[in-house]
């Protein structure tokens, strides 16, 4: 997957309508790592009094970058779905600056990927937000007829998390 992601670059992000709507740009991708930039736009502001980008934009950027980092650690394409995100908002992003997210998928088991990420505007050591996330792998392998997928049910049915792929 890493070679494919590198070849596609930001085109890989264009396949996701929401990533395209936000104008996300793939800055870098390495094995298990991804860096994605969200360009500053007035439409993404959360409070016109401050001009600060909405927390929800940072949430989407972090979720998407974490997903890219998971993809970048897989040998072949497998559908993934976010299981949970835990975000800390450390400070407000500076009005007018792009927000950049760096994610690292540090562990992959048979069914679950574990990811950490930070979002920053100028200095990666002075983050705007940090996140810890888990993703379900093969999230849409065998969808029940007429039903949407239920990730927690999958997690409960697959308890062997000992196998690593990295």
């Amino acid at each position: 997957m890493l070679t494919i992601l590198k070849d596609l670059g930001s085109h890989a992000l264009q396949a996701s309508p929401q990533a395209k709507a936000l104008g996300l740009v793939l800055v870098a991708v390495e094995r298990g790592e991804a860096t994605v930039r969200c360009p500053y736009r007035p439409e993404l502001v959360g409070d016109v009094d401050t001009g600060v980008v909405a927390g929800g934009v940072v949430t989407t950027l972090l979720d998407h970058t974490c997903g890219q980092a998971v993809m970048a650690s897989l040998e072949t394409y497998r559908p993934i779905a976010t299981l949970d995100l835990r975000i800390d908002y450390l400070r407000a992003a500076q009005p007018g600056l792009d927000v950049i997210a760096y994610a690292h998928c540090y562990k992959i088991t048979r069914s679950v990927a574990f990811v950490r990420a930070t979002a920053y505007d100028q200095d990666r050591d002075d983050p705007v937000a940090t996140v810890q996330a888990t993703f379900m792998l093969d999230s849409s392998r065998t969808p029940p007829p007429g039903q949407s997928r239920s990730a927690p049910e999958q997690a409960a049915s697959e308890t062997d998390t000992g196998e690593t792929r990295i």
Binding site: A15, S16, Q18, G56, L85, D88, A92, R149, A151
Partner: protein
């Protein structure tokens, strides 16, 4: 128009990102429902298709902020300290609704729980636990504000 209704209109008007997503808020008395009408740009994975997980997280966070802001005694837009989002079911390409419960509001911090659903209220697709910084007005409502309680842990 009630005070809560005025505050809600004011909040959405000052939040361009709410308009970017297309979020609406409706009040029935003191109960607020947030609505995220389906739109193609909200899709994360077009192969399924499913709503973007980040969009659902953002929608729930916005619902929590709005629910807090319309309470009496909250002076300005609450700021998120941290949120935990759990994805229970895939978000299908259809309208999504959310309601927030303020679990506790102190003089500085509020804890809020939000659930989003689509066709069935009893089968939520996403839930959020959030912690928010609130700025009280000069005279916080004694019914909703527990002045100084959140200083207890720090002492």
């Amino acid at each position: 128009m009630s005070e809560a209704s005025d505050k809600l209109q004011n909040l959405i008007g000052r939040m361009p990102y709410a308009q970017f997503l297309g979020v609406r808020m409706e009040l029935a008395g003191d109960e607020m429902t947030a609505i995220l009408p389906y739109s193609a740009h909200l899709i994360g994975n077009p192969a399924l298709p499913a709503l973007h997980g980040g969009v659902l997280g953002a929608f729930l966070e916005m619902t929590a902020v709005a629910q807090l802001f319309i309470l009496q005694g909250v002076a300005r837009q609450p700021r998120p300290i941290g949120v935990t989002v759990e994805y229970l079911r895939s978000g299908r390409p259809m309208d999504t609704y959310a309601r927030a419960q303020v679990k506790r509001i102190g003089s500085r911090v509020a804890n809020v729980y939000v659930e989003a659903w689509q066709e069935t209220r009893a089968a939520p697709i996403t839930s959020l636990h959030g912690r928010f910084l609130v700025t009280p007005t000069q005279t916080p409502d004694p019914a909703t504000a527990t002045e100084g309680q959140d200083d207890a842990a720090a002492k």
